[in-house]
């Protein structure tokens, strides 16, 4: 029986890469209990944290790539340990220091972002093609909002419909916005949280140069991940922007009476709270305000809503670019909760949630029972 010896070098390097929260953990195990991974498999999260405390991490371990940044653990941890930061630190040790290898699909994603500025590997000059026939103006000095669409939404024909809905609504509400030119690159959220720190630096510097040139002060986003990146990460490199998620903007306009929904949308709808802006940033009321302002729309809550919302499976931390085995998908469980409410529509407001739920509906063969709609789509249906 071989006794284990704590390895200071490993725990030190994890600390150096930003894993300091590991020092606070007193091993109570609450995180394991709340982590959604334990709904689908065995994931002894607390033990993994103790391994970082002891330096006994196997950098080939698949478990290092599980975290979706859902923040369920952080919100309940009695010591306030930011577990995702520890995960990110270990991923930096893998990606930047070379202690191991990331999952194949994520490596491809990172290569794409590094070479053409978007995770899908699409040509950068086609980034704003979605806006071609919509008459959207390009941002110039003096425009109020820079409208920054998510890479996935910009390039993927399946979910592009959300961008069209957003433009329609903002025009109806006379919002002064403009899109950037195709020099901008991915916000870098999945790159950064996947450990590719130096790549993220490059992406952020590239974007901020363009923003500075254009004189950008306010940014409106459709993806909660871009929201987190611009609001919380870019300031570390000197960025100083007022960032709003489009639903916050619309909620404000509704309250000021500048946006009114007139066409009835007679649907029973249930809402999925996105972890990034829900649990992490406290944005629960704005999407509900928008939906409740739509005439004829009946909003019902799933169990586990608001701060107890179950993560769709990611999402954040690059999980969207990694394989999740059938039977281990949170979105399957979450769709079950949505079906329980009897709603005909599951409303979401994140491109990754949309991708996950679209997939689940197909795989579980529920397309006859429930439709996945972005809140923006429902909102645009309510406008003449």
């Amino acid at each position: 029986m071989e006794a284990l010896v704590p390895l200071k070098e490993t725990s030190d390097i994890i600390l150096e890469e930003g894993g300091n929260p590991l020092e606070l953990c007193y091993q109570c195990g609450l995180c394991t209990g709340v982590c959604p991974w334990n709904l689908v498999r065995d994931f002894p999260l607390r033990k993994l944290i103790h391994k970082t405390q002891m330096g006994l991490i196997d950098f080939e371990d698949e478990d290092l790539w599980r975290c979706t940044n859902c923040y369920a653990c952080v919100k309940r941890c009695p010591r306030g340990v930011e577990v995702p930061h520890i995960m990110r630190a270990m991923r930096r040790v893998i990606m930047e220091v070379g202690a191991g290898k990331a999952p194949e699909s994520f490596r491809i994603t990172v290569k794409n972002i590094a070479s053409v500025g978007n995770p899908l590997g699409e040509p950068p000059e086609k980034r704003m093609d979605w806006a071609k026939f919509l008459g959207v103006k390009t941002f110039a000095k003096g425009t109020e909002f820079l409208y920054f669409p998510c890479c996935y939404q910009a390039y993927d024909l399946g979910i592009q419909r959300v961008l069209r809905a957003s433009v329609y609504i903002m025009n109806k509400a006379n919002v002064d916005f403009g899109i950037p030119d195709s020099r901008v690159v991915c916000c870098g959220e999945s790159a950064r949280n996947g450990g590719a720190e130096s790549l993220w630096h490059n992406l952020a510097q590239t974007n901020m140069k363009v923003f500075a040139e254009l004189g950008v002060k306010k940014i409106v986003v459709t993806s909660p991940h871009c929201y987190l990146a611009f609001k919380n990460d870019y300031p570390e490199l000197g960025g100083n922007f007022e960032v709003v998620h489009i639903l916050q903007l619309l909620a404000g306009l509704i309250k000021e009476g500048k946006l009114k929904f007139t066409k009835p949308v007679n649907k029973k709808v249930t809402l999925h709270d996105t972890c990034c802006v829900g649990r992490r940033e406290g944005m629960y009321d704005e999407p509900r305000l928008v939906l409740n302002s739509i005439p004829g729309l009946e909003l019902v809550e799933m169990r586990d809503s608001r701060e107890y919302s179950l993560c769709c499976g990611g999402g954040c931390m690059g999980r969207i670019w990694m394989e999740t085995k059938k039977g281990e998908r949170f979105s399957d469980i979450r769709l079950g909760q949505a079906l329980e409410t009897g709603a005909s529509n599951l409303a979401i407001y994140c491109p990754y949630c949309m991708l996950n739920f679209d997939d689940t509906v197909l795989v579980m063969d529920k397309s006859g029972e429930i439709e996945i709609k972005d809140v923006l789509e429902l909102a645009s249906e309510a406008l003449e």
Binding site: C28, G29, G33, N38, D42, P44, R46, K47, P78, R79
Partner: protein, 653 residues
């Protein structure tokens, strides 16, 4: 005036100062300062040889001013003042330079520290030059004591002071004394019946010739200073005449109106006219206006009809009583944490999730279930889970550990095993059994068939995933020692809730001029060496109002506070600090700006003389009025403009 002859003493404080400050260099520097007759150094100036060094120099070199450069004056100013006084110099001709907390402990740079030490010594030397001898005043100490709070802490302190022959006013806000301790069933680790050990003390208090018990009362105002406080106490109307009532209880029997019992935490009902529990002291009921039909609708008056002593008095008014006391002991206790905000534990939503204090009442033979451990539907539980650290050791609620919960959780295991055949599960993070007999109690419990699961549960749910779980409460969490998630189906869940500071602690603190810590509890003068005194002289704290603790520690603190009070009463007088402010009545224009600014209400306006005057006894020397006076009519003794300017000059060396 005799020319000042200054002796300067630089302390090493072991390596605390000397490890960073070049003490010999500072000594050489000090020798060159004006009016300095001698400069020396020593390892520990506050020690006997250190003090003797000063005293000998005073005698031999005829010094008339002394500067000691060492630690904080809060620590040793009294020590050195006493030393120079013993050598024949007025204690106010002494000055201290703090070259430890303000210097050697703030930097690791030796050069910087030494330069700053020199500057501080220079400032002290320049300042002491201008010191004048001052006389302290003595005031008598009123031998009466006010104790606020009638729980075990207040009761213990009251009995000790009263037994020593001095008068105590014991003020309690509830209709009876007893606090939280009288709510308990058995106490750990001896399993003494709480009421059995407490009621004799309560009865002693009720019948003690030296204790004036004021229940259903609150302190409204306090004025004064140590040895001489004036308190205004509001006695709430009971609507029962205490002098006539004989405690027969017929009124309570006949009263048809009910309300939730506060004593039973809402688990049972009491009458509109009630004593909180049968052993109440005083055994005189009160009428609750909110549930009494007479006060609400003008009807009934059954109690009055049946009272043989004609003790019911619906016209009774609140009364204000003014008392004079010399010392005050605050023993206001704690509030139990309300776990409703922890939604995932289901308190308030799921039936049969109870708090620790509620479980005490359930176990208690005169509680809502007659001492039977039963579920809401009256049946006996077959399994019970006890969750530790609910609201404690948790950044989201209270960061501190509440100290008693591990022990009362073990106690509940024992009581459950005694009264039922239920399985008991303890969900803990650590087992804290620190006191005398506590670890032994833990061992005893381990042999009683309790299952210990190490892990903080994620949730308590009623959503069953199989047939065994149907109808049960399932505690879900990680067993961290096994490293797997466990689901434990039980019938009842007991939450070990935190002890938190009383909801009105802020008001109490303001009233008595004491401070609260970040955790809400009152702050002691020194956490290790002075746990019952506060920064306000004459006001002491004891028991859980100072921090969560068990009964043995509470009683120990209550005794400690009583002893401090008795020491002051015995001395009979207190010396008042001489460094107070004084108004030059020739210069005072009568503008009265200072009157409102004084935080201690020490300044009053004298109409006949048209000037303001400072009550030396109340003045704490904070300096606010000195700075505010537009006529510069107020001098701060020991902190005159001359002294302060000299100090500034000295520091700019």
């Amino acid at each position: 005036m005799v020319k000042p002859k200054i002796g300067v003493y630089i302390c090493h404080c072991g390596s605390n100062i000397a490890g960073t400050v070049d003490v010999p260099q500072v000594v050489e520097f000090a020798k060159g300062l004006p009016a300095v007759a001698v400069a020396r150094e020593y390892k520990f100036m506050c020690s006997d040889p250190g003090q003797s060094m000063i005293k000998d120099d005073i005698k031999n070199l005829k010094l008339n001013r002394v500067v000691v450069a060492s630690c904080s004056p809060l620590l040793h100013e009294p020590t050195f003042r006493r030393a120079v006084q013993e050598a024949g110099i007025n204690p106010y001709l002494f000055e201290m330079a703090n070259i430890r907390e303000h210097c050697s402990w703030t930097t690791e740079d030796h050069g910087e520290a030494t330069e700053k030490a020199k500057a501080l010594v220079s400032a002290a030397v320049k300042r002491v030059y201008h010191h004048q001898p001052l006389e302290t005043r003595e005031v008598p100490v009123n031998p009466n004591t006010l104790i606020v709070g009638g729980g075990i802490a207040g009761i213990q302190a009251a009995l000790e002071i009263a037994d020593a022959g001095h008068k105590v006013y014991l003020v309690e806000k509830d209709p009876s004394i007893g606090g939280h301790m009288i709510q308990f069933d058995k106490t750990f680790p001896t399993l003494d019946c709480s009421a059995c050990i407490l009621t004799p003390k309560m009865t002693s208090v009720g019948s003690h010739p030296n204790i004036e018990l004021m229940t259903y009362s609150k302190v409204e105002e306090i004025a004064g200073f140590i040895g001489n406080f004036k308190a205004k106490i509001q006695k709430k109307a009971r609507f029962v005449d205490e002098s006539k009532c004989n405690g027969c209880g017929v009124c309570m029997e006949k009263c048809p109106w009910k309300a939730d019992s506060e004593f039973d935490l809402g688990l049972s009902q009491r009458k509109a006219i009630y004593t909180p529990f049968a052993q109440a002291v005083p055994n005189v009921p009160v009428i609750d206006k909110e549930s009494c039909a007479y006060f609400l609708k003008g009807k009934c008056r059954a109690c009055e009809k049946f009272c043989e002593r004609e003790a019911i008095d619906f016209e009774q008014q609140d009364k204000t009583v003014e008392i004079d006391v010399g010392n005050i002991i605050i023993a206001t206790g704690y509030d139990p944490f309300d776990p409703t905000p922890i939604a995932k534990y289901g308190y308030g939503k799921l039936p049969n999730v109870v708090t620790g204090l509620e479980f005490e009442r359930i176990c208690n033979s005169v509680g809502p279930t007659g001492g039977k451990i039963v579920l809401k539907d009256g049946s006996e539980p077959k399994s019970i889970a006890i969750i530790h650290c609910v609201g404690s050791r948790d950044e989201n609620y209270h960061e501190y550990c509440s100290r008693v919960c591990c022990m009362y959780a073990l106690k509940y295991s024992h009581l459950i095993k005694e009264k039922t055949k239920a399985d008991v599960y303890q969900m803990y993070i650590d087992m804290r059994c620190f006191g005398k007999g506590y670890e032994e109690f833990y061992k005893r419990l381990s042999k009683e068939g309790v299952t210990f699961i190490r892990g903080k549960p994620a949730e308590v749910t009623d959503r069953a995933i199989n047939d065994e779980e149907k109808g049960k409460l399932i505690v879900v969490g990680e067993d961290s020692l096994l490293g797997t998630i466990v689901r434990v189906p039980v019938d009842m869940v007991i939450l070990c809730i935190a002890l938190e500071a009383r909801a009105d602690a802020k008001n109490v603190a303001q009233l008595f001029s004491i401070s609260q810590g970040a955790d809400g509890f009152f702050i002691e003068r020194h956490p290790k060496l002075d746990p019952v005194a506060t920064m306000t002289e004459g006001v002491f704290i004891a028991g859980c109002c100072q921090g969560p603790k068990d009964i043995p520690d509470t009683v120990a603190q209550a005794s400690a506070a009583a002893t401090r009070v008795l020491a002051l009463i015995n001395k009979g007088k207190v010396e008042l600090e001489a460094a107070v402010a004084v108004i030059d009545e020739e210069k005072c224009s009568g503008c009265r700006i200072c009157n409102l600014l004084c935080p201690y209400n020490a300044i009053s306006f004298i109409e006949e003389d048209e000037v303001s005057r400072i009550n030396e006894a109340l003045c704490k020397g904070c300096g606010t009025c000195v700075a505010a006076c537009p006529s510069a009519a107020i001098t701060h003794k020991h902190f005159t403009t001359e002294e302060i300017m000299a100090e500034i000059e000295g520091v700019l060396v």
